[in-house]
């Protein structure tokens, strides 16, 4: 253990890991890809990696290093996997603009095809969480919402609030709202743990449960609010503001009318 961690810092370590990873990826492909299509897929894959590498050199390497090995401005991307790239670039967090407590999501600058190429390149640097397929994050079982709800309250609500509206963390950091986050990105965030969010890897939260959580969040985002305005689903603070400003406000306006003197026929 000790020995390994010492050698991790070795300049050639990244290269070794990369080679190992490439070998592993290739091996996996050989094992799983259908035999006839393997040739075509591999060449398409290597083309994507090639394109991704070019995009990476232009848009990412200034912070993450020419080979994604990281620098003082950005972490190493070896082993973060395609899911992390798809999340970070797909939500516009990357490329980051200015430093602050936290990198916010913003307008996406790459097309999905370009993001896939970048993801393919970064995935080729080392094995990591793979961006999910549509089947992985799309629930078909109606019971998933309830199960996802319970998992959400155990694992997510403490930061993202009971309805996924987000919340405060320390020193200006925050858990963002999930209102406009796509199911795929929610799934990827759980896989990879972007920025200060912890990850929920498949070993402790199986794929099936991530799908259930995504189902709950999607349901909550589209859920009607039976009682009327949801007031942001932020709990008693906004309720108190509404009660003071609108309810008590309306009552005081009414009281002013009740107590006012009726206009006289002659204005003196």
């Amino acid at each position: 253990m000790k020995k390994l961690s010492a050698r991790r810092r070795h300049p050639l370590a990244a290269l070794v890991v990369l080679l190992l990873a490439l070998a592993a990826t290739g091996g996996l492909y050989a094992a799983f890809a259908p035999a006839e299509k393997a040739q075509a897929d591999t060449s398409a894959q290597s083309l994507a990696i090639e394109e991704g590498k070019k995009l990476f050199a232009v848009g990412c390497s200034s912070c993450h290093g020419l080979d994604g090995q990281g620098s003082s401005d950005g972490p190493s991307l070896v082993g973060v996997g395609s899911a992390a790239v798809d999340f970070q670039v797909g939500t516009g967090r990357m490329p980051a603009q200015q430093s602050g407590a936290q990198v916010p999501s913003k307008k996406v600058v790459y097309s999905q095809a370009q993001i896939d190429q970048l993801a393919a390149y970064v995935a080729s640097l080392g094995p990591g969480p793979v961006a999910p397929t549509k089947e992985q994050y799309t629930s078909t079982d109606p019971n998933d919402v309830a199960k996802g709800g319970e998992l959400f309250r155990t694992n997510c609500a403490q930061c993202h609030n009971f309805a996924g509206k987000g919340g405060a963390l320390t020193k200006g950091k925050y858990a963002p709202t999930l209102e406009n986050t796509s199911p795929k990105h929610i799934y990827e965030a759980m896989q990879t743990g972007p920025q200060n969010m912890p990850s929920f890897p498949d070993t402790t939260m199986p794929e099936e449960q991530k799908k259930q959580i995504v189902a709950f969040v999607s349901h909550t985002n589209d859920e009607p609010s039976p009682g009327g305005l949801s007031l942001g689903s932020l709990g008693p603070v906004t309720e108190g503001l509404f009660g003071w400003i609108f309810a008590l406000g309306a009552l005081i306006v009414t009281a002013i009318w009740v107590a006012a003197h009726t206009t006289k026929a002659k204005k003196s």
Binding site: T154, C159, T170, S199, F200, P201, T204, Q209, G228, W257
Partner: protein, 354 residues
């Protein structure tokens, strides 16, 4: 106390003799109640008729709204959702019932007030105030009566009678206090132990993942991940699940060994895997806002912040001491286990806590 402010020192209180004062040339004298000025409805019968119609209209609207309320109750399905601008998608029944009831009530009120404002007399009437205090004669009379009564009772004279009465009155509420004893059991040292106490090095207790309800192996716990756990054998449908999970809940994280700042805490963990109590030491909220880069955990209730890389030291907020940590290791099959209870009581502090 020293002297009281005497009446002579204060400016004269304004009496009703304002008119006289004005005669003496006081520019600030009370001019007295202004003469009553009529409203439109007082002098114009047409205006009064119009006001009458307005009031009746309000009452009629109220009746219609009540009919609407009953109709909504009968006709609208309870789970029907409609889109109402600008509220969004809301329950049709709740909105219909609330608005009709609101209108029905509001119109009764508005009608009554409009009636009072336009058609009832608006002559301002002065009513005299009388001092709350009784005059001296009455006061003396009452005190005299009381003294007579007190003397007749013998309360002051018969000391034994008085003292035993006071004694019995003081004692009798104790029965009520005694009756409260069975509200709950005595605390003993219950707060000092958790469900993990049955674990021993010889008979360790597995950590069960809250999500999967399965035991975990160290390789399952990735650096930067967050997992919640409970003791083996504790199930949701058991009678005392809520009491148990309120103390036993664990937060499992893994920190790269070089980031660990506290030797003792690292030793309680297993290869950088640390098992902290999920219950905040401030007032017991499940603290779990874990920032994996800073290794800080924030409580959502009162923002106590703990540095999990440094033995859960309190670095901000109202908590008074670190989160207790559970010593973990692996059993012969490679599962994460606890070999004993927490080193100290979990949750908020209490007087008997050592």
């Amino acid at each position: 106390m020293s002297h009281e402010m005497s009446d002579e020192k204060l400016p004269e209180s304004h009496g009703s003799e304002g008119h006289e004062a004005a005669v003496h040339g006081d520019p600030f004298a009370d001019p007295g109640l202004p003469a009553h000025e009529p409203r439109r409805t007082d002098i114009d019968e047409r205006a009064a008729k119009r006001a009458e119609r307005q009031v009746s209209l309000l009452f009629i609207v109220s009746m219609l709204a009540t009919v609407g309320f009953i109709a909504s109750y009968v006709a609208i399905d309870i789970d029907k959702i409609v889109y109402i601008f600008p509220l969004g998608h809301v329950s049709a029944l709740n909105f219909a019932l609330g608005m009709t009831l609101g209108v029905a009530l509001f119109c009764i009120g508005a009608g009554a007030v409009h009636w009072a404002r336009t058609l009832m007399s608006d002559h301002e009437i002065p009513a005299e105030r009388h001092p709350i205090e009784a005059d001296d004669e009455l006061r003396a009379d009452v005190i005299e009566q009381f003294k007579t009564g007190a003397a007749e009772s013998g309360f002051g004279r018969r000391k034994m009678l008085r003292n035993t009465l006071i004694g019995s009155m003081a004692l009798v509420p104790l029965s009520g206090v005694v009756l409260l004893r069975d509200l709950g059991p005595l605390p003993e040292d219950k707060l000092a132990h958790t469900g993990w106490e049955v674990a021993t090095p010889a008979k360790p207790l597995k950590l069960i993942n809250m999500n999967t309800n399965e035991p975990m192996k160290p390789e399952d716990i990735v650096t930067g991940s967050l997992t919640f756990a409970k003791p083996e054998g504790l199930e949701e449908d058991q009678e005392f699940f809520q009491e148990q999970i309120a103390k036993d809940a664990l937060m499992i994280i893994r920190i790269a060994p070089e980031d660990l700042k506290d030797r003792k805490s690292a030793d309680l963990g297993f290869e950088g895997i640390l098992a902290y109590s999920k219950i905040c030491t401030h007032v017991g909220c499940p603290i779990s806002l874990y920032e994996q880069q800073t290794h800080h955990a924030l409580c959502p209730c009162h923002q106590s912040t703990f540095d999990l890389a440094d033995g859960a030291r309190v670095i901000f907020g109202p908590a008074g001491h670190p989160l207790p940590q559970l010593k973990i290791t692996t059993d012969e099959k490679g599962f994460l286990v606890a070999t004993g209870d927490f080193q100290e009581p979990v949750g908020p502090s209490y007087w008997e806590r050592p």
